[in-house]
């Protein structure tokens, strides 16, 4: 990267470097001030979209999505629109940078929305206010009902341009929606956009469902269902709603995840008091045994290259994290700190494993390198577990349960997210109580 930059300087000596960049590797105490100007819209387009989408001004709605995403990332500080001196129609002109400088904006997003051939066309530009330069200009065309996704895609582009890494906004979360008393919880599979919108329940709540996880294309989900009181691993096609059992062995199958190529499901199979790890090839249904040990081996998760598996085992006497080759050879314990370790999940970047740790009555979400070194605990709570990585490996989502009061009341389960830096801890809003989140891949690039 450094070479490329040097090269650019050499061949373009008159070009000044853009001034703004955002460092996402450390807790960001000075988020970048950014102005998201409402996208301008002509009257004709506005009326058309109002009819189709029942939104008064789709231009401002999309800009609000971008603004909220940027704020949630913790890296940006979207400025109050009341302070803006220029109207949205700057989309057609060059911004008056001194006006934006005055309100301390370092970056500016402008754009416009058009109704063209029954489609939604959104054009946006990212400006470096201090340098007085355009950093990016793109346009998207899609069906009007995809308007929220346009907001997310714009955020992803801006995030990538300013941080140098892919975003995670055009994504969805699959999770377990919960309701009812703690002793008789009703649980349903649910899916929503990363920002909590477009929530949809995928099962009715007639049977207990747990631990849904996306496949790499985010179209399929594998999860545990207690259908007919037989806890088994299932596969669900989100679009068609088709469900099928994949782990129908004489015993309990659970803790499923997809392999990085999406061709296999890896899971635990419990029988006669011991749990081992198996894979099933989804095409030919060939089952392979990966571990064979009288202990509990569970929570398997592949490395992104598919060569290794991290998993949870109590073969040492207590729950610890292990890694092995994908064929089950070379099993190696990697967690040696005090306490119990569970739910290892390999980062999409490959360099870290996120986990849950239980120590002295407290639960932690943490990360360690794949050899077990460099353990860092990100957050401590009464009860929390099951981290899932954002597709760029910068954020973890997990769930937290509250302590009940003396009468055993006041229980709740909620989704939370935290940056890998340990900063920016946030409640992820859901319609109902929620647990077992799984983050999709980026839906578009």
């Amino acid at each position: 990267m450094r070479h490329i930059i040097l090269f650019l300087i050499l061949i373009l000596p008159s070009q000044s470097l853009a001034l703004i960049e955002v460092d996402i590797t450390r807790g960001n105490l000075n988020p970048l001030p950014i102005a998201v100007s409402p996208l301008s819209i002509d009257e004709e387009s506005r009326k058309n979209f109002k009819k189709i989408l029942k939104k008064e001004n789709i231009g401002s709605e999309i800009s609000i999505i971008v603004e909220n995403n940027l704020r949630t990332s913790g890296l940006f500080n979207p400025l109050n629109k009341d302070a803006f001196l220029q109207k949205p129609d700057i989309a057609n002109l060059k911004p008056r940078f001194e006006d934006w400088n005055l309100i301390k904006a370092q970056a500016l997003i402008t754009g416009k929305v058009n109704y063209i051939d029954e489609n939604l066309r959104v054009e946006f530009r990212l400006w470096d206010v201090l340098a007085g330069k355009e950093m990016m200009a793109l346009a998207f065309t899609t069906v009007p009902t995809n308007w929220r996704r346009v907001g997310h895609i714009i955020t992803d582009k801006v995030y990538e341009r300013l941080t140098g890494e892919k975003g995670y906004f055009d994504t969805r979360i699959i999770y377990v929606a919960e309701e009812g008393p703690k002793t008789k919880r009703i649980k349903k599979l649910a899916i929503m956009d990363q920002d909590g919108f477009n929530n949809k329940f995928l099962t009715l709540g007639n049977e207990l469902v747990l631990t849904p996880r996306f496949n790499p294309t985010s179209q399929m989900v594998t999860y545990l269902s207690y259908f007919r009181n037989l806890p088994r691993v299932y596969l669900l096609d989100i679009e068609t709603g088709m469900q099928e059992v994949v782990g129908d062995f004489p015993g309990m199958t659970y803790a499923p995840r997809f392999s990085p190529d999406g061709k296999k499901i890896i899971m635990s199979f419990a029988k006669d008091g011991k749990s081992d790890i198996y894979t099933m090839d989804l095409e030919n249904r060939i089952v392979e045994r990966i571990t064979n040990h009288p202990s509990i081996d569970t929570s398997p998760s592949y490395s992104p290259d598919g060569k290794y598996i991290c998993f949870n085992s109590d073969r040492s006497g207590y729950q610890q994290i292990y890694i092995m080759d994908s064929d089950g050879k070379n099993v190696k314990r990697i967690s040696f700190g005090r306490g119990l370790y569970g739910t290892p999940v390999w980062s999409p970047r490959g360099d870290l494993i996120a986990f849950t740790k239980l120590h002295k009555g407290k639960f932690y979400i943490g990360v360690m390198r794949t050899d077990g070194s460099g353990e860092r605990l990100l957050t401590e709570n009464y009860y929390q577990e099951a981290p899932s990585w954002s597709p760029n490996g910068r954020v973890l989502i997990f769930y937290r349960e509250t302590k009940t009061d003396k009468k055993g009341e006041g229980f709740s389960a909620k989704l939370w997210s935290i940056d890998l830096t340990g900063y920016n801890e946030r409640l992820v809003k859901t319609e109902t109580d929620a647990s077992d989140p799984s983050w999709s891949a980026l839906l578009s690039n």
């Binding site: 990267m1 060059k94 065309t141 996704r149 659970y254 008091g273 569970t298 949870n312 577990e385 099951a386």
Partner: protein, 179 residues
């Protein structure tokens, strides 16, 4: 779910050639180490009425139901354990005697864990506990054909409390008539 999206570069303004963030620099900088939160105390050492627990195994009868007169339906376990206590073995011998007398009855052993563990490990632990009960019943002459095992992990507590006594009631294997 890949709806049609088209993306075009808008090119009538000069594109900025500015520098992106220098990745190699990031990795050199390493990560800012966060401060692990301090202050853990209390909680694990709360006082519990001793009459209802031995070690941390529940010995009370609050939640116990009966398969028949004098035949308790459940046994309790220590934290993270699936070892049967003396009292548990006595309960299971009573169940075995009752099952021998009622040879048409089949049962499900429902294994449970408390809420202080990760979900997936607890599913395995519940299965292990139910199997400990199953093995014992089998040594007392009950055929494995009459026994099925079902683990609920931490999903079905009987006591919704967040204290050691509640947890001890929830670490259990319950024998349920299946027919």
């Amino acid at each position: 779910m890949k709806p049609l999206f088209t993306c075009e570069k808008v090119s009538y303004t000069k594109k900025d050639q500015g520098a992106k963030m220098n990745l190699s620099k990031i990795f050199k900088n390493g990560f800012l180490v966060i401060l692990a939160c301090l202050a853990l105390t209390a909680c694990a050492t709360k006082k519990v009425s001793k009459s209802q627990m031995q070690g941390d195994v529940y010995t009370g009868t609050d939640t116990v139901e009966y398969l028949a007169s004098g035949v308790p339906d459940r046994v309790f376990f220590a934290t993270n354990e699936s070892v049967l206590t003396t009292a548990s073995r006595e309960t299971l011998r009573k169940q075995a005697a009752w099952l021998r007398k009622n040879s048409d009855i089949t049962i499900v052993l429902e294994g449970h864990a408390d809420e202080r563990g990760t979900r997936e490990y607890n599913l395995a632990l519940g299965e292990r506990r139910a199997n400990a009960a199953k093995d014992y019943l089998m040594t007392y002459g009950i055929s494995s054909d009459r026994i099925s095992v079902l683990s609920y992990g931490k999903e079905r507590p009987v006591d919704s409390g967040s204290n050691p006594l509640a947890w001890s009631k929830n670490r259990r294997s319950v024998t349920v008539k299946a027919n």
